[in-house]
Point group: C2
Chain length 458, copies 2
């Protein structure tokens, strides 16, 4: 019996244990955006450290940062000269609000039929546990064909502010031949997917201040500028009528799509009906002249993520609000530089703001886009996915951002393999996030194959 | 010693008792916008009923409505054929949020030096208690020269939805010669003021729905319309660049200001510096071609009162919000019809809304504007204010709305006397609302004189 079959057998016999550990991790509410969850973040980190020790890791170390710790671990291969695979992951999750829209408590991790519902079940604790289950299954059936390094951060959902300085100061420690980043997803249950392109991210906040306090709109309506109206006006001018972004210079570095690119994107099977069903929107909408997948994968976008001003409770309150604010993020494509774009946006918005209010703009985070269809290990991954699903592979340019991939390339000189076993309807970042467990199980099998595909003897 | 002097003496001797009763009323958190305060609203109503009984009212009755009760009471004059003065008031208050901006608990009613700080201290529990203190002082010193009727509602801050049907079905009960409505204020400590014009109000809410749930802005940014961006776009188009309202037909019924009107408004002493100091805004702003007081008093306005969409907590969340909503109100001038305007606004906003989102608009409340410089009793009030302050009277057109005045005129055929002893910096509807007590005391003295001015013998 081959190591592959024994590993798969071990996994199928211990699937319930693995699911229990998966639930344990998901039940830790490690919300990185909320300072109140600092201890939970730490707990999630400790949980993974313990798990890695139990796998026999020779080196497990938790590195403190200004915000949330980074976990590093290493498991050596038996034979000399084996390649080194670095597995990246993050153990932090998005906030859960609006809490009232969850059908089960967000950190209960309830398993109901084919799904586990919880914040982080898909993004990305499920993917983290899939990798660890694969490693354990391989180790249980024989020698490890590769050296493994693990890098787990707790700040991905807040833009990984500490990661780059950590990587740049620990190049030796992180040196590797292959990087596996399972923080991506599949196009559908039947489409194992390798993402070869990701958009970058620029996240910023605008605040417009007017009166020193909320004013009676009757007594003062007509004398002062209303910050909420001014903010709406600014946001409205960030787009052109054709759906393109109106910030001067926004597209300057955007490369036109090549016919080959357009063809590759078109080859991905996603019907407009599917997108309507997934989103629940009455109609598709976006930049004129591009297909939906071109817009999500290969074109930059600008979206308001949050708006607040004045009175938003029950009933009515007749005030001119003291201030109004908006959270806004841009998805970027290769060659766009987040810092440069922030300067452009700041200058443009400042030019739009009347002197009757005070404007504040600040940047939350930024990351460059990423393009890689030649990452080392791609054959091993492609074969593993193909053998597991017996379906044609999908190569995809995706709209999401994984800034760490660009950072890794810059400092370690290795392009990341982006895959994962979440599905488009997992509702990540939304209420009732869930993971499709049959897909998760196939994912573990695929990762077992992926690791063993590095074994030349095998 | 005249009844006037004895009444003034009684008030000065019992000022502390009156202030204690005033605090008692203010301490009842009768927030009408919030269903959770239903019992407090009731308690405030009962408090006033008890107070009126203690003044010897022959008839005190609490009328239930669909929301909050209406209180009626009557105190007869001794002599036949005395005129009847109806005193209007409301015992409900605005919400307190943002609660964290209050320096003392909003319902503690702390008296510190010249000020009582509390929600409702100025708008308008202070004015209600001033009237009752005046009535008690007059009664303590002799016969009542007028028949008094009292009408107190608990829904003024939510647009008085029950009041009109009550008034129209109780014309007999409310029949009167003079109506005193102390729900207005003074221009400054030294400017006793009679308001002869008020703007009307139209309050509505817009909601824009897009996706069925918040979406990951990376995966879906570029495929669907973002409700927050769409809402901002709609709001931006409600005004023209010159600050005027862009809704077609909005100004159709607005009468041009006559030179006499302009002159009367100009005669009111309010410096731009004063408005900047009061509001804390960096600059004055509004419809081109009109002075600040013309804009607040004699021109209609449209203001956003509240905005909400998506994620507004700490940190960042990269979503396309499922929906966005705005609370908006218009201040109206005479001849403008709130219902007609709502139709116009609804049609205009609908025409601006792309089919890629779902739009909902609903009306909270509406009331017509009011113009009256010939209200019965105006001589008695003018003399009372003049004798109390020994300062020239200010006649003012005000931006606020008191829809009840229009309703009273329509059903009882009597124009209301609008005055009050709040000041522009009382921060009504804002955190740290307060009442200037020396002004309040002069107010009580003025109301004592007002009542006695109806006594021909005197």
């Amino acid at each position: 019996m081959t190591q592959l079959n024994e590993s798969l057998k071990y996994f199928s016999e211990h699937t319930d244990d693995f699911l229990r550990q998966y639930q344990e991790l998901v039940r830790i509410p490690s919300v990185s955006t909320d300072p109140e969850h600092k201890a939970d973040i730490r707990a999630a980190c400790e949980f993974l450290a313990a798990k890695l020790r139990s796998l026999g890791a020779q080196h497990v170390e938790i590195f403190p940062t200004n915000i949330h710790p980074i976990l590093f671990a290493e498991i050596h291969a038996e034979k000399e000269g084996a390649p080194t695979v670095l597995i990246y992951g993050h153990y932090d999750v998005q906030p859960v609000n609006p809490i009232e829209e969850w059908h089960t408590p967000p950190f209960e991790a309830r398993i109901d039929g084919d799904y586990m519902t919880a914040r982080g079940a898909s993004d990305m604790k499920g993917q983290v546990m899939a990798s660890l289950a694969a490693v354990e299954s391989v180790l249980a059936a024989g020698p490890l064909p590769v050296n493994l390094k693990f890098l787990y951060e707790g700040e991905e959902e807040i833009g990984s502010p500490s990661l780059e300085s950590f990587i740049s100061t620990h190049k030796e420690l992180l040196a590797c031949d292959v990087i596996l980043n399972p923080d991506s997803g599949m196009l559908s249950k039947d489409q194992p997917t390798i993402v070869y392109g990701l958009r970058g991210l620029l996240y910023f906040e605008i605040r417009v201040d007017g009166p020193k306090a909320d004013l009676h709109s009757g007594i003062f309506g007509g004398v002062v500028a209303n910050p909420a109206n001014v903010l709406a006006d600014i946001i409205a001018r960030l787009h052109n009528p054709d759906g393109s972004v109106a910030v001067p210079g926004f597209y300057d570095r955007v490369l036109p799509l090549t016919p080959a690119e357009k063809q590759r994107i078109a080859s991905v099977q996603v019907e407009p009906e599917t997108l309507l069903k997934l989103t629940g929107s009455p109609e598709l909408y976006g930049e004129a002249g591009y297909t939906p997948l071109e817009r999500t994968g290969a074109r930059p976008t600008l979206d308001v993520n949050g708006l607040y001003s004045g009175f938003i409770g029950e009933g009515s309150k007749t005030i001119i609000p003291a201030y109004a604010k908006a959270k806004i993020s841009c998805r970027l494509v290769p060659e766009q530089n987040p810092d440069e774009l922030f300067e452009l946006i700041q200058a443009y918005i400042t030019s739009l703001t009347p002197s009757a209010v005070r404007l504040t703009i600040f940047k939350h985070s930024g990351g460059s886009a990423y393009l890689a269809d030649d990452a080392p290990g791609i054959e091993q991954l492609a074969k593993a996915l193909g053998d597991t699903w017996n379906k044609p592979l999908s190569y995809k340019r995706e709209g999401g951002s994984v800034p760490v991939t660009a950072t890794m390339l810059k400092h370690l000189g290795v392009k990341s393999l982006l895959t994962g076993f979440g599905l488009p309807d997992d509702r990540i970042h939304s209420p009732n996030e869930h993971q499709h467990l049959p897909t998760w199980k196939l994912g573990v099998q695929a990762l077992i194959r992926f690791l063993l595909n590095f074994d030349n003897v095998h």
